[in-house]
Symmetry: C2
Amino acid sequence: MAYILQVDFELDGPFGQEMAEEFSDLAKSINEEEGFIWKIWTEDSEAKEAGGIYLFQSKESAQNYLTMHTERLKQFGIEPVNGKIFEVNETLTQINNGPIK
Amino acid sequence: MAYILQVDFELDGPFGQEMAEEFSDLAKSINEEEGFIWKIWTEDSEAKEAGGIYLFQSKESAQNYLTMHTERLKQFGIEPVNGKIFEVNETLTQINNGPIK
């Protein structure tokens, strides 16, 4: 059973390639988190928002990551953080080619 | 360039296999939407919420879908709908194996 974690928050920047350079080490570290499968990094430079869509192997690992990540963002001066964890409906997701492996 | 659409809303049900049976025709129709790449169907039967994570080929196609889908959900008696569209940061997403094809 796979779980989606969706996270978003207000961000003044950086965006785009500058964001990629600043956060590449953080991205590499995320690959080591317990239960982590993948992350899509999201950004909106006009609305000044950013976040991520994550796939985790369990609800517990998603919740543990969200708790840690919310605290980390707070140390960067970023709060509040909108975070929601959902179970994946696998039958419907397969119809729509959703990547849940 | 790929765009993420994240959608969530309050839902009394159905969830799980019952949801899958009720919405399989809707899921098939979504495969025909302009610019659509994939959808992951999300649900939380305890919090009574559901939604989806979509990948679209353009911001315009994601926005057009969100406008149509929000109206459709309203006809089902579901509102408000939380919908956000984000650009994908491809460099960081590749580090974390994010499925953006």
